[in-house]
């Protein structure tokens, strides 16, 4: 890709990705509302929320909070850029890990116990889902011979045929990263608070708006990674993330919250073990 093409693609992504992420969040809230037999907010509600947050007082408790929140946003944006510009999946994985660590550090920088326990739980969540995501990406390497996203996109058959167990693992990763029940022990949405707002407690105003936009980008990125697993044809590439999204919202509405010990046990049994088995099968055939 020439330099001008790269710049064009990056600029378009910088505008389109937050908008698409916001629309996804609106779809999430609207679907949740319909499942609960009510109207729900408007389709542009996330944009109203974020705009309102930019107009609020920030009340940052120290200089590190806005710093880490911005780093979180830049990390999420950088991961999105790496994906869109056809970079390396492994680099993407490390970037997204770093992004989450910035969120955790920002929350730990304040003395609030809610914030700190939320940050601890966020780290536990990262401990739970990262091995699965890494093994899934290593499986992609074994199936296609490269970590490069363009190599994955050009693979002749859908990756799901060789890596069927990667999908349950990625579904669980999606549930955890999006703080959806049953794995929302770190920071719950809206009214289901246990630790006030957990990791997001001490953030307010524009700083919280940065985090919101970063979360939209992370959701979008994860759905794009899931779409890689059915890369042949547009139909599959749209159907797989759409089905994942719908299933996640359904599960969010019917499942109670798991404590982290249970989450660790059940996710590693149903996610990590099966995907390692898949990888072993792939390696030896």
């Amino acid at each position: 890709m020439s330099i001008s093409q790269t710049v064009w693609l990056a600029s378009i992504t910088a505008v389109v990705a937050p908008l698409a992420g916001g629309m996804l969040h609106a779809l999430d809230r609207k679907l949740t509302a319909r499942l609960q037999s009510r109207c729900g907010p408007s389709w542009v509600q996330p944009f109203y929320d974020t705009l309102k947050l930019f107009g609020k007082q920030s009340q940052a408790v120290n200089q590190w909070q806005p710093f880490f929140a911005l780093l979180y946003l830049f990390g999420a944006a950088a991961s999105m850029m790496v994906f869109v510009l056809g970079g390396d999946l492994l680099v993407l994985f490390f970037l997204s890990t770093l992004t989450v660590s910035f969120l955790v550090m920002g929350a730990l920088s304040s003395a609030s116990p809610y914030s700190r326990i939320g940050a601890d739980r966020e780290m536990i969540q990262a401990l739970i889902y990262e091995p699965m995501l890494l093994v899934a990406l290593v499986g992609v390497y074994h199936a296609t011979g490269s970590f490069d996203i363009s190599a994955v996109r050009n693979h002749p058959q859908p990756l799901l045929l060789q890596l069927p167990m990667a999908y349950p693992a990625l579904f669980l990763v999606f549930l955890i990263k999006m703080h959806k029940s049953p794995f929302d022990f770190s920071a719950a949405h809206h009214a289901h608070q246990e630790l006030v707002q957990g990791i997001l407690t001490e953030y307010a105003g524009p700083v919280l708006a940065f985090l919101e936009i970063g979360r939209w980008l992370e959701t979008l990125l994860l759905l794009l990674i899931i779409s890689l697993f059915w890369n042949t044809g547009v139909g599959g590439a749209v159907f797989l993330p759409a089905a994942t999204f719908a299933a996640a919202i359904l599960l969010d509405n019917i499942a109670p919250r798991l404590v982290w010990r249970w989450a660790l046990r059940w996710i590693w049994i149903s996610g990590l073990v099966v995907i390692c088995a898949n990888l072993a099968w792939l390696y030896w055939t």
Binding site: R29, A33, Q36, S37, R38, C39, G40, P41, S42, Q45, F47, Y48, D49, L51, K52, F54, G55, K56, Q57, S58, Q59, H190, A191, Q193, V196, Q197, L200, T201, E202, Y203, A204, G205, L208
Partner: protein, 150 residues
């Protein structure tokens, strides 16, 4: 100028709630909870019940504010990031209600914080609550709008 109007509209469209129960009988609390259920559905106005004062725009006070929880209320009020709106919900929060004159009762939430909207009733109907919230956030639409004390 147009950015300010956009932000004011966003404030009107996305009021996040913090509910403070100032030692009441929970009648108003139950009515507020009813507003958040599918029948009355406050979320169609963009209202989310955030338990966190740093995230909230609207403070709803129900129940009599007494000398014991006055400090908590003032703490919460000062933590809520501006611009903010304060609602006094129910007869007890408006004037002390049936408990006015008791030795521990302040006699209304406005003895502790600046209240913008009073929603009378014992308890007020959910429709009245929704009306009160919308009246309160209507103040965001005027330039420099917000709590009376800000």
């Amino acid at each position: 100028m147009i950015f300010n109007r956009l932000i004011n509209r966003a404030r009107y469209k996305s009021p996040w709630l913090l509910f403070f129960n100032g030692g009441g009988c929970n009648g108003c609390a139950i009515e507020i909870a009813a507003c958040l259920t599918p029948v009355y559905d406050l979320e169609r106005f963009g209202v989310i019940n955030k338990g966190n004062p740093k995230h909230a725009d609207v403070l709803m006070i129900a129940g009599t504010v007494n000398y014991r929880n006055r400090r908590t209320l003032e703490n919460l009020y000062s933590t809520i990031t501006t611009p903010r709106i304060v609602l006094a919900v129910g007869a007890c929060a408006c004037t002390g209600g049936i408990f006015k004159g008791a030795y521990n009762v302040l006699g209304g939430a406005d003895r502790a914080v600046a209240v913008d909207v009073y929603v009378p009733g014992c308890p007020p109907k959910p429709e009245a609550l929704i009306d009160g919230i919308l009246k309160g956030i209507g103040r965001f639409r005027s330039p420099g709008g917000g709590n009376a004390a800000d």
